[in-house]
Amino acid sequence: MKCSEARFALAADPSNVDSTVAGHLEACDPCAAYARDMSMLDDRLRAAMSVPAPEIMLPAGPQVAPSAPPRRHVLRQFALAASVAGVALLVGILWIGVPRQSLASAVVEHMAHEPYAWNRTQPMSVDSVAPVLGRSGVKLRDGMPGISYAHSCWFRGRHVPHLVVQTPDGPVTIMVLPDEEIGGREAFAEGGYRGMLVPAQRGSIAVLARDASDVDAVAGQALAAIAYVD
């Protein structure tokens, strides 16, 4: 493979590097540097593109079906819905013990910065996942099925692997946190996510879902699949 071909592939889709490109990168330092550039660039693009979204409420209901209501009417209904949602959020926040879940909160907050991570559904090759894990001294023992997203994310002062795996019940996020020691398993529900923090051979692993996915099972799979490199 020529350098120009590898660079074209990297610039067109840096998250989906096939084995041919990965092989070229192992042998070509300038292209490997180019790949790192593209990865860094995408990190910054994602952060910049994830602009805060205002509360834009859904249309009020059947009464708007025949014709569009006056905009003020829609906005009033939207404002009411926003107030209800705000109160519900406040109650939720008060209900959850904040100090105990500071790591959980940080993980949930990180999710807000990478909403696109949930959207990827195409399975990734082992070759394209390995560099992401390797950056944090982690590898997969025998692979892990269904990985659709893998990215090395800046989290609490370190780069950590952020994976999304597809399960029958929906996507589940795994964050491998080798430097985050915890006392024991912790379940949490925060910001619309259900999750689990589990102690690992090094540090911990966080597993999150937005739906009814079995986070326990995925946590077990992750613990079995992930190995730590010296």
């Binding site: 550039d37 593209m38 660039l41 994602r46 593109m49 602009v51 708007v64 829609v74 991570a117 195409q122």
Partner: protein, 167 residues
């Protein structure tokens, strides 16, 4: 709550933020983006029965948003904006004025031609594959790859300060 309403909320609620961000990067204007999202949701509500596969809710909504943006653009004859003025005007309103790095990157994205910016947003932010982008934009996969490549080459030069390359 009636089943139709419940279905609508279940499908659209999780996608509102994505929908707004997509509209924002199409329009490069917050108020236009909000209008696009409101019109998109109203149109989606009215034509909910046209969505036969719930798993396709996201591309369905983004397609409506794209059309609504084009319609709004045509109706209001939106003026071409000065991207330098735009980025400085938008940033404080985005609540990230202290984040100079993101502001610079946003300005670089704003400055991309539409035909480069839209596929890039679909890929980076919406998680679309290149095949999905090609279907969404009515382009060949090769054309999408070329646009994405050129978009990132420009941004690499501007954002990372690397020498420009030709592909």
């Amino acid at each position: 709550m009636d089943p139709r309403r419940r279905r609508f909320e279940r499908l659209c609620e999780p996608l509102r933020a994505d929908l707004y961000r997509f509209a924002f990067w199409l329009a490069r204007d917050r108020s236009v983006a909000e209008d696009v999202v409101q019109e998109t949701l109203l149109r989606a509500w009215r034509s909910l029965e046209a969505l036969t596969d719930d798993n396709s809710a996201k591309p369905w909504l983004l397609t409506i948003a794209r059309r609504e943006h084009a319609r709004l653009h045509e109706r209001k004859r939106l003026v071409t904006v000065d991207v330098d003025a735009l980025s400085t005007a938008e940033d404080p309103a985005l609540g990230r004025s202290d984040d100079h790095e993101s502001g610079d990157v946003r300005a670089a994205i704003f400055a991309l031609p539409d035909e480069y910016r839209e596929p890039l947003v679909l890929q980076v932010l919406m998680g679309y594959s290149t095949d999905e982008i090609a279907a969404h934009l009515g382009l060949t996969n090769g054309a999408v790859l070329t646009r994405l490549c050129r978009a990132r080459q420009r941004l690499r030069t501007v954002v990372l300060g690397r020498a420009e390359e030709e592909t």
